[in-house]
Symmetry: C2
Subunit: 452 residues, 2 copies
């Protein structure tokens, strides 16, 4: 079977997934979502020329001779309207954001002034017209498109939304995601410890990777290697927008996932990807027409409800899913190996989920770093090495988190990022420049990292 | 008044704030939290030597002559225990993760084998002992400390927690944060549009900045420039761990925040920081003994409940706060200017909140970039320029988001990061290397950014 390149596999996925429909959310719930509508300014801001400083509104021409002594004729707070006109050698005390009085054309900040009496101020600096005045409409003009559909809602964007009084807005809805682990060897969280079994970590690592994208997944539990049980779980899972199945998709004779899922109407675009850790990886699409009927799904849900370990922090979201989503369902068959499953999620599932949420930024941010030590490599597959990042004057230094066995999840737990070794590489020396994908949890660092 | 350096102001804050007490959370709610306990392995993993591949468990010595034809004596699935011993020129079909049978010492993956009948396989490769075998305890050994207190809970860490069956764990609790805007000029979200007023964006931008750290803040609303009203709001706000007050802390004569807050028992460590945008910025501490009494606080809450725009997505968290927190309260007086307020939050409030949550990584991650255009600068204050990042073969390119007026919030909404211009800098040329702090919402990019 041909090994696809990572970019080829990503292209196959992106040809299938599209942004989901829009929904209305409140400003308080909008962080991290993506706008599905343009946002217009609803007024000029500032609504008039305003002071940029706490100080005195003056006529700049009065300051030509220094020091100038000016009469204070009024006191203008932010939120007040000025009542007087500033004439020659007069000024008004003014607060940041307060409207400029007629006659005045500049502001002198209070630090540059000397109040010599309650109604007299001495100013020794001279400024040009408009100094420290923010002109009407500098921020935005009524009717301007201030934010376009497709914008990710960051805190800065929320500030702008509040500025135009957008209490609610259309955003692309989040995909509903279900997670299923498979395998007789797995021990569920609530099971007693059995030394002959392997605790199911994939359900939770995947849960967290999905949560990190702002989505609360539903965890279906563990399906044993039994075609009937597997079918029951898969039927339930296909009722969601995205179903993540870990384990059971390799070439072993006991893997029932692939045939069962195809039987349920999923068109599988199986592949092996030339990456390490990674394959086997499977991707399939169930088009709407072929989707399990609502009745079937609800029946399936009832049948498994007592067995499945359903976890849903947003009950209403779960119930909505039970009512059947209107778009295609996508299935990712992920490796059973914990690290491989997480890396495949990062490279394929996260970009797909981000795309479904309407975000043009689908991939993890990358930084360049120097290798702290040599790395051996057998060319042929792109390798992802779990690394920690440290920083010195020359920038980032990347060091392996230790054993890179794909069974050792601690190497992932300790990682700041994934160092990407290109497939044709035959190894790298200490000090060579490399690319590192930042992982979740690394948007902060222990040092400011800049020079004041 | 002396202008502190940014690092000096940060030091003052870090001398006051400490990590909060611990609380128990479930694995499902633990993402982004920080462990307040060490986590021990509860068994050896893998519990025995297991196969790293789907294939055949063999005696490596049998493969010395190629091809070797071996009898398949058993079929071992993951979760099964082998029942037979592999003797000379025998092998067992084995799945990834399944226990190695006695006698076998290596695994040949199925792709490198040829099944010539139902119970005979031909193998043409030769391998060393232990090939594709994961030894017992490779992942972790019973009793090992696998995660230490102070570890941020990322998806990889959650995988490890699930592996040791940690269904709940101690984490540092999140600070309870209240947000207050001040100023007569402000128009609340629910008020009708008044062209003479300025919509209150700071409440929401700060809300989102707090949310981005995983904390649901309580928004107290807008206090008018009236000492009695301000006192009522501040009393309420001081019942939280952290109170963010925007506006009203500058040197203008109408600023009542400082005297009122001191009257309420807060020891203010005011400063001006040598940064742009930024000052004025205030920081104060109310020690526990001086804290407003519970009765006072509840009374205050009742008085303002009808006026304050209380927003709390976690009702229970809010109620807990009403019962009064056990630690010191911290007050940040932030500039009224929207961009200044957000930048001060990033440089001072976010690190403090991260520290309170027990996270050693307090500061935003930085990347190096080249300037896309020259930047003028008047030395004396560290400047933060809002920039967008693009990427070419030589790395990141930083371009200004446009007007850098601190009133223009759109420049922040469009920014990927804050370019930090050191205070002694007199300007920079296009192409010069600069440091950029990544902002929230930039942990993803539009391109993979690596070479396969």
């Amino acid at each position: 079977m041909k090994h696809l390149k990572i970019s080829e596999a990503q292209r196959v996925i992106f040809e299938s997934v599209a942004q989901l429909d829009a929904e209305q959310v409140s400003l308080e719930q909008s962080l991290g979502r993506v706008l599905a509508q343009d946002i217009l300014a609803n007024r000029d801001l500032p609504p008039y020329d305003v002071s940029a400083m706490d100080g005195f509104a003056v006529r700049s021409c009065d300051l030509a001779t220094s020091p100038a002594t000016l009469e204070i004729i009024e006191d203008i707070k932010a939120g007040d309207m000025p009542s007087m006109t500033v004439a020659a050698f007069q000024c008004a005390r003014i607060m940041t954001g307060a409207p400029m009085p007629t006659g005045a054309d500049a502001v002198i900040r209070v630090e540059d002034t000397l109040e010599i009496s309650a109604n007299t101020v001495q100013i020794s600096v001279s400024v040009k017209s408009c100094h420290d005045v923010r002109p009407k409409g500098e921020n935005m003009r009524d009717g301007d498109v201030v934010l376009t559909a497709g914008t990710e809602i960051t805190p800065g964007v929320i500030g702008v939304l509040a500025t135009v009084k957008a209490a609610t807005m259309q955003v692309y809805r989040r995909p509903r995601v279900a997670i299923l682990s498979t395998g007789n060897e797995l021990e569920a969280m609530n099971d007693p410890v059995d030394p002959n079994k392997i605790p199911d970590s994939n359900t939770y690592a995947l849960m967290a990777q999905v949560q990190a994208l702002g989505i609360n997944p539903v965890m279906l539990g563990i399906a044993r290697d039994d075609p009937a049980e597997l079918e029951q779980y898969l039927r339930l899972g296909l009722n969601y927008d995205v179903l993540l199945v870990s384990g059971g998709t390799s070439v072993g004779v006991h893997d029932y996932v692939r045939p069962t899922i195809e039987k349920l109407g999923v068109s599988m675009k199986f592949w092996r990807v030339a990456m390490k850790p990674g394959h086997p990886l499977a991707f399939g699409v169930m088009h709407r027409a072929a989707k399990v009927s609502e009745a079937d799904a609800v029946q399936g849900a009832k049948r498994t409800a007592t067995k499945a370990y359903l976890e849903d922090r947003q009950g209403s979201e779960h119930r909505a899913t039970q009512q059947c989503a209107a778009s295609d369902a996508f299935v990712f068959g992920l490796p059973g190996n914990p690290v491989s499953s997480m890396v495949c999620f990062e490279e394929f599932v996260a970009p797909a989920l981000r795309r479904m949420m309407g975000n043009p930024r689908a991939y993890r941010r990358t930084v360049t770093a120097r290798l702290a030590h040599p790395v051996k490599m057998r060319p042929g597959r792109t390798e992802f090495i779990r690394v920690q990042l440290s920083c010195d004057d020359a920038g980032y230094l990347a060091s392996s988190t230790g054993t890179q066995s794909s069974g050792v999840l601690l190497s992932m737990a300790r990682a700041d990022g994934l160092l990407v070794m290109p497939s044709e590489c035959t190894g790298m020396k200490a000090g060579e420049q490399v690319t590192v994908q930042l992982l979740d949890g690394t948007s902060f660092q222990e040092y400011t990292g800049f020079k004041e």
